[in-house]
Symmetry: C2
Subunit: 134 residues, 2 copies
Amino acid sequence: MAGKLNEKAKQLIGSKAFATLSTVDPDGGPQVSPLWIDMDGDDLLVNTARGRTKARNIERDPRVGICIVDPQNPYAGCVALRGTVVDITTDGADEHIDHLASKYLGVETYPNRQAGEVRLKVRIRVDRVAMQPE
Amino acid sequence: MAGKLNEKAKQLIGSKAFATLSTVDPDGGPQVSPLWIDMDGDDLLVNTARGRTKARNIERDPRVGICIVDPQNPYAGCVALRGTVVDITTDGADEHIDHLASKYLGVETYPNRQAGEVRLKVRIRVDRVAMQPE
């Protein structure tokens, strides 16, 4: 059964707070990195580029952890969840990184594109949500 | 060979920025949660309580990921690292959570103690450090 995002989780995901994505390294250990995030219905969407560590990891093992702390009020709780990557696609990935740049930076076009970079839009199904103190 | 914390990493770890700790769940997937952090020499110290998910996970598998984003300037880079838990102890754990409360809250005593809670001080050796854009 898919996990359900509560209102606080939706509010945080809709804010400019960064998410931390954790993926599984080839040796089974955890790899973490910060990134932008948004929602599509009950799914989470993130964006990366082909060949990056997190991209290679989720292609091999779709299990991810995500944590979002409100930088304005870190003691008011955070959202932490387990999810499963259900789609990795180049379709719409450039438009999606522009959309995230609009959300986080207020600009129309993602300003940090690298030459030759292939963007990937990643859809994550939420399996489990935990709102945590401390 | 242990990973080396650079100046930016030390500055972030010394600040009030929350860390995100990723551990390995029993099924091999990643579990993430935010927590306070500080340093002792080249090691990282965090504090949890017996029986929590992250405490059970690191007792079974010592591999962790840690990510710290500067909430004041999230685009200036972050520190992301892999580490190994080398010690979990109750010795000095109550004093250590008070020390973290002093660092993060400016108070002498950790204000959120639960009745019957057994605090654990966790020492993490840094294996690999990556400073990341985006």
